[in-house]
Symmetry: C2
Subunit: 184 residues, 2 copies
């Protein structure tokens, strides 16, 4: 194979180019469609060049998931704080899931079997969790913990049920509004 | 290849034998590990014999998912009706998910892309939904619908968060108890 069509990247740029290519593969066919080889091909580099950045497919998926959690934290952080901050965050949560179900499934699903093996992913999950916790007010120890877990479970479950087609014929935004408004 | 080791089945029994084999593959490695060819091998028949029962892998997964929803309806139906029937059902829901995460992910996940293509699956989903709806009391039209959706979302989300390892260090039964009890 000729290498004449191969691109050259500055240090670090190739890593992001591979992530961007893998992100598109994720949208096209889920985690099963993501491969280091195909990401390399789309980024215009050889497979060995890609393997210098990611040891294997799971490392690539873990980096993608970490990027997803950072985008998630940013999306959840947008709603203005205030009386309805938890409802607004819930709606942002559902919107994030619906926007790119493949990304959401990668982040929360079993594609990365042990998140603890990937410090960047673990840290990104923690950052996103802190953002979510911040939206709940007046911490009162255990009761607060359960209330937060209930809110998180509810909005996470609604997101999953929507992207998994269990609530056909309903608008995602309207469902999120109804569920988070009634939750008060 | 010799066919001397091939088993013979009565009509209908092979279908169930293939489903049983596929169910084990599901537990071993998720939907990605399920194949008609491997299910046939484990059931002791040729691949063409298996294809007489299932057109392709998705048909096999759809039949497995339908079986899962029937087991789900049976598991949810066990708790005695009464004041705490919704809490008991929520706890049974989480227990079902935790018992076999691969089955739960197949049932609700994207492995079967369009449930409407499989009438048996669609009917099984509907039967399980009726069981769930039956646990909520005093229908009051729209408000009741939202209350049910909130309860379903909450318990489904909790199940997902647990099997996806987002709540490490916690016991699934205790989480289910805390969330469903606080929900009153």
């Amino acid at each position: 194979m000729s290498t004449s069509k191969r691109k050259t990247y500055h240090h670090g740029d190739l890593r992001q180019a591979l992530l961007t290519a893998a992100d598109r593969l994720l949208d096209e066919g889920g985690t099963g469609a993501v491969s280091l080889r195909e990401a390399a091909r789309r980024a215009g580099v050889s497979a060995p060049a890609a393997y210098r950045h990611f040891a294997d497919k799971e490392s690539l998926l873990a980096a993608l998931a970490a990027q997803g959690f950072d985008e998630f934290a940013a999306a959840l952080g947008k709603p203005a704080a205030g009386r309805d901050s938890l409802a607004a965050m819930g709606q942002a949560y559902v919107a994030f899931a619906v926007e790119r179900p493949g990304r959401f499934r990668l982040m929360f699903g079993p594609a990365v079997s042990d998140r603890d093996r990937y410090p960047d992913l673990k840290a990104a999950v923690e950052r996103a969790s802190i953002g979510f916790r911040g939206a709940t007010k007046k911490p009162r120890e255990m009761q607060h913990g359960i209330a937060m877990l209930r809110a998180w479970s509810m909005i996470h479950g609604l997101s999953q049920l929507i992207i998994d087609g269990m609530l056909p014929g309903h608008d995602a935004r309207e469902l999120a509004l109804a569920v988070t408004t009634a939750a008060k």
